[in-house]
């Protein structure tokens, strides 16, 4: 069979279109989990946090986070009387092994657990030049580590300092809100390990989630609201000195 030049020119684009559709394949489906049915967030109840560091250790164990790097960490604030603008903040090894004993004095102390705020308008996903980080349809900000170049633009863009470049993989890494757990109906490792219930995973799309009643009756704040990141980690009783 011979193909004329004219036939070839007609056939090639048709073949390219067909090949495209073959490559696209069928979308992968996860059993019993529909992404669009969820909109994940977390509630942090500051008065309940005792600074034990369980969440930090649990996160490192669950997600193989290298030493010295943190997907979640705990900060201890000490605000001396009225000096809200100059809090003393410590976080020894991310609070992994707890905190040194504090002596009673004029000031006040409190713990602030931090993690990725799972922003709905996240600066980190906006700056990624290759589409390696993204907001999944269920509201979780994830990193495609096979696609990431390790340029670290996102590390600089995150106003909360929640990202780092993995020292071995050389790609961006961050809290996935234990995506491998929440899609299986489990809670996050940090919430599972928190002894006081200071951290609660919440699904804003689930009308029966206790977060709705909580938000109705408590003064709740997100970190750096002026940055309009659409942060979805809600802090109860957050002090004005927290950055």
């Amino acid at each position: 069979m011979t193909i004329t030049r004219r036939q070839l020119l007609i056939l090639l684009p048709a073949a390219a279109v067909a090949w495209e559709s073959v490559l696209a394949g069928t979308p992968e489906t996860s059993p019993n989990y529909t992404m669009t049915d969820h909109w994940w967030s977390m509630l942090i109840d500051i008065p309940k946090c005792i600074g034990c560091g369980n969440c930090v250790r649990a996160c490192q164990a669950e997600n193989d986070v290298p030493d010295g790097f943190f997907r979640t960490w705990v900060e201890r604030y000490h605000v001396d009387d009225w000096h809200l603008a100059n809090p003393q903040v410590i976080s020894p090894d991310g609070g992994k092994e707890g905190f040194p004993v504090a002596k009673e004095d004029e000031g006040k102390y409190f713990f602030v657990p931090k993690l990725c705020n799972q922003c709905a308008d996240s600066p980190c996903t906006q700056v990624c030049p290759v589409g390696a980080t993204f907001i999944a349809p269920d509201g979780v900000v994830l990193v495609d580590q096979k696609y990431c170049l390790g340029c670290a633009y996102c590390v600089q863009a995150c106003p909360y300092g929640c990202r780092y470049v993995h020292p071995q993989k050389k790609v961006a890494d961050k809290c996935t809100l234990c995506y491998h757990r929440i899609t299986k109906g489990l809670t996050t490792a940090c919430c599972e390990a928190c002894p006081t219930g200071a951290r609660q995973l919440a699904d804003l799309k689930n009308p029966n989630d206790p977060i709705h009643a909580f938000l109705k009756t408590h003064s709740v704040q997100v970190l750096k609201p002026q940055m309009a990141t659409g942060a979805k980690v809600f802090y109860n009783a957050l002090d004005g000195s927290v950055r």
């Binding site: 684009p13 004993v101 993204f134 907001i135 495609d144 995506y179 757990r181 599972e192």
Partner: protein, 156 residues
């Protein structure tokens, strides 16, 4: 057609352009991952890949399917809301294969992590100066960790 007279070079250029476009599309179809753009400007398959990571914490519901007696003891005590793996650490391997030793938590480290007296902790949270309180006697001599109030569940 008079209009196309002397336009041969334009057709050749257009043909070259079309061939270039075609080449671009073919190369692009090989380079761009198949699921890119499925949900947005990213590789859709990455979501399933991240969701497939192995779990390390089994979750207290899993623990309680076998250790219902401990769950019972715990439910009436002060540690009712403290999940198993908060003290026992990640136990997914033990849950998958009960013959794997879950290890015994070290109460000397664990108890004080939460209960060592510190002005930084919330006032209503039970805390002690371990040295003053017990003088080196291990916590579990008096307090049964699963239900720590003295007399509740008994000393172990």
């Amino acid at each position: 057609m008079r209009i196309f007279k002397d336009a041969g070079h334009l057709f050749r250029l257009a043909g070259l352009f079309a061939a270039g476009t075609l080449l671009f599309l073919v190369i692009r179809s090989f380079i761009v991952p198949r699921s890119f753009g499925q949900y947005g400007h990213y590789r859709g398959a990455a979501i399933a890949e991240i969701a497939a990571h192995p779990i390390h914490f089994a979750g207290h519901q899993t623990c309680e399917t076998c250790h219902s007696d401990i769950a019972q003891t715990k439910s009436g005590g002060k540690h009712a809301q403290v999940n198993c793996e908060a003290c026992h650490g990640p136990q997914a391997k033990h849950a998958d294969d009960p013959s794997i030793d879950p290890g015994k938590p070290d109460t000397a480290v664990l108890c004080v992590r939460c209960h060592a007296a510190s002005a930084a902790r919330p006032n209503d949270f039970p805390q002690v100066d371990a040295e003053q309180h017990a003088g080196g006697v291990p916590c579990q001599t008096c307090h049964q960790p699963h239900s720590p109030a003295i007399g509740a569940g008994g000393a172990k």
